[in-house]
Each structure stands twice: as C-alpha cells, then as structure tokens.
Amino acid sequence: MSDSKADKYRKVAYYPGCALEGTGHAYDRSTRQVGKALGLDLVEVRNWNCCGAMEAKNIDPKVQTYLSSRVMSIAANEMGMDVVMAPCNGCYHNLKKAEYDLAHDADSAQVVGRLAEKAGETAYRAGQVETIHALEWIKSAIGEQGLRERIRGGLKGLRVANYYGCMYTRPRHIFPEKDAGPGSESTAKPHFMDDLLAAAGAQNVEFALKTACCGGAHTLSDSDMSTRLVLNILQAAEAAGAEVIATECPTCHSGLEMHQVRAEKRFGKKTQVKIVYFTQLLGIALGLSPRKVGLHENVSDVFAALQSRGVA
C-alpha cells in the first residue's frame, strides 16, 4: 500500500448510515473507538440521508442513485472531503454503485442532476470523492504492521471465520480497485478482514462461505429462506472450527444473530458460534474495554466466549 493512501485515509468523511444508529449501534461505537485508538480522524457527513439500502432500488434504481449521490455531494461540496468511509456493506455498495452509474450512464447523471436541482442541492459529479469500506480504511491507513505495533493483549489465537457477505464484492464492476494486482482486495476470496484480524492475533479458519448470501434482502419477507441460508453459514463456520464469526456489515451481522435464534426456535437447530464485528475484535486486541466496543449489545454472548478464552 502506498503512503499517499495512508495519508489520504487519516482523515475521512464518515457515513454511518441508518443501521448504525439502530441495530448496528455496537458497530458504530466500536468503529469510532478503534479509529480513535489508532489516531484516525472521522468527520461525520453532515445531515446525511439513508442510501436506500437494498429496498429503494426495487421501487426505482435511480431513487437509490440520487440518495447515495446526495451523501457524496455533501462530503465533497459542503465539507471539502475527498474520501467517504462507510462501514455498512449496503451503504458502501450503494455509494460505489452510484459512482459507477454516474460515470457510465448518461441517463442516471441526467436524472440525478434534475432531482438535485429540484431539491436545491449541488449535484454530485462522478469522481469527486472516493468511497471506501471500513476494512480498506484501516488496512490502508494503518496496515498490518502498524496494527501489530499497537496491539495490547491481542486475540490469542482465537479461531475466526471471516464473513464478508454479498455486497462487499458483488457486482464486480462497481469495484474497479478490487482484483487489481498485488495488495488489492479480491472479489472471489476477500482477505482484508482476515489480514487485519491475523495481525491482531487471530487464527483465521479456512472458510468457504466468506461471500455467501445470508438472504438479508428477505430477512422478514421470506424468513424461512433466510434462516436456511444463515444456518448454512453458521454450520460451515463451526465445521471449520471457528469460535466466532467476524462481520463487517450491520445487516449481515444482525441477520446472522437473528436467524441463529430463529433456527433454534423454528428448526430446532442450535449453533454455538458467536457473532462479532471485526471492529469489536480489533478494539479488544488494542486493549479497549468490552463495554467500549459495545460487546454487551451483541445478541450472541460473545463477551462470555471471549472471557473464557482470556481475550476480554
């Protein structure tokens, strides 16, 4: 990774998104705490709006393009920032998708321009900001070596299955910086979270379902399907010997938590593996208290599990 990137990512516009204010609160909290502990600067996007998640595009795709572009426009045109960091896969994906569409599809650019004008805002122009995920942020700004130097306690060989979900890597064309040679992220077999957690002292298990889908789009509208898909992921992680599944998205995270309970209640299938945000694990490894990274907010009792391993 180049030093220019490391410098560029030291101070970024932070787009938490709606989920991080609700069910994903522990992710917001641990992301901010880890940033602070690492000396990185997060400036929240002013008066942001929802990116539309996986739903608005089904009412109309350009509604999502406008919603996402508005967030990038505020960061660029009102705050003068050139990097937006989003920890939620949904937000990250939507901003990247809007960026791609605005650069490649004249119709999208025209509609967004028209909507922004009616709303009395400056329309976003493709290329004004770079959108990155929290994983890229820490990986590029601090890196594995930098992380190793700051570890207090570490993860003591905790066996982790790294789960990235769908929206971090698919569809491939909206992530031109991935699959781009040495040091870049892979869409087939992502590894940024693996790299960071290994540097923090975890032992990553060989996990084939890293980018499997948890059925998040239908978590409430076709719950049995989601429960089956999640159960698959949980069981595969356990079979691979994982004690915890590390997540990097509030929707994936709460999907795994919710359907772990639902699989138990509805299908009588109990799994033991615990679900935890990668930022919570990094925070613990950096010596932050379990409370600071919001471990008590997780549904699965990851606190007890980490305690019994002498990690927390």
């Binding site: 709606c18 609160h25 109309d60 491939r172 907010e297 009792d301």
Partner: protein
Amino acid sequence: MPIHEKSLIRPENLKTHEQLVVDGVDVSGHWSTFIQSRVVTDYNEALQEEIAALPGGEHIHRCWQCGSCTNACTVNAVNPDFNPRYWIYLVRMGMESELLRDKDIIWQCVSCNKCTYACPRDVVPEGVMKALSHWLELKGHTRKSPSMIFDEVFTEQVIQRGRIEEGRIIQRFFRRTGQALGQDWLIEMGRRLLRRLPLGMLTRLGLASVRAPRTHGWARSREALREYVAEEHARQRRALGLSELIEGAQRDAAGIPHA
C-alpha cells in the same frame, strides 16, 4: 437415464413405462422415461420488450443461455425450480404461459448478485428477476409479494423523512402483511439482549422509537423524489399497455396522498 433439468418438464408430459420394447430393444424400467412432444402456439411476442422496459430488465436480450447464473444462484441451491436461465429463455421466446407456472417463486430472488458476478454477457440477471416480479404484479398475475411490501414500506419512509428507523419499519411491515409482532424468535432475541443491556442503551433505543430520525431540510428532496417515482411508474405502465391510473398501493409507494 436421468433427464437433464427434468423439473422443467410438465409432469403430465413425462411418460414412464414399466414394460416397453422399442424396435426390438427392451427399454423397460430405468430407460423407459420419455418426454411427450407438444406444440406451443400462444406466444407473446412483446414479452421481451415489456421486460426490457422495466428497471433491471434492460439487458435481457444479451443472454446466450450459458446457465452460469442458475449454476451460481443462491436460491436455486435451496429450490431447483428457481431457475433464472430458464426464465430468461422463456421471456426471450415469448412463452408467457410457461413463465406463469413459476410466478409464485420468482420474487424469492435474494439479490445476492452471484448471477451478475458469473454472467459472461452482462445481462444482470438479478435485475431481470426484479423486472419479472414487477411485471407479474403490474399485470395482475400475482399479488404483491411480501418482499415488495417491505420495499414499499422502507422506501416510503426514506422518501418521507430522509432516514429510516428500523423499529417503525418492522412494525409497519408486520401490520401490512398481517403478522403478529409477538414472534417467538423476536421475543427470544429481546430476552437475550435484555440480560446484558445497560439502562443508557435502553433509553437510547426508546428515544429513537419516539423521536424518529430525519434529515433536515428534506421537504424539497421529498417532493422531487415523489414526482420522479410517479412519472417513472406511469411510464412503466404505459410500456406494458396498462392504464396510467395508479392504484392505492403504488400511490403509497410513491408517497402520493390518496385522493
């Protein structure tokens, strides 16, 4: 011999004979399953154009039937009848009545984009699945799917306030789909959380559900979005040869007040 994608053949057109000799060769038992030939006459020549007129369906004409989408599909692994390649084929051929046999499962696409990732022709099968679901609903072949109701509840709130609050969305969705809020697993999740949550956190959650988050100065964005969605939906209805009169639920989706 097993017939490839046997589930695609109507059961009444599969003939199995316990005892059968064809041209002096005994083909009883294992070898005796035959597909009855039939003639299709009820083509809808406009089908591909109609799907292409809906968001997501734009690139359906590119498909060369390699089957990579179905092979990669998350839902297909759970239910072999869920077959994006086959549905795209039917649309391109105009075989509407065949497509309608699967009308109640098409909405189950979970938008994982594994198909889009695998497709060598940039068809974006995920988008095609959404276009198909919309088409089925607009044409009145299916009722609004729970997934569409969820998308509407969610998007209404985003357009209304700029932000969403999950508790409200869940409540509204359960109400609209006639489900009880007291689901056993939901209660169990709450129980597990309450064991550890401190008072401050509970207060925060409580406050969020009273004072809904919103984006300030959103009124003009709201108006612009509503206008756009209404125009777009009217255009789609025209493309499908339907009257432009928007019925109740779609008004809700667009946030247009009822007359």
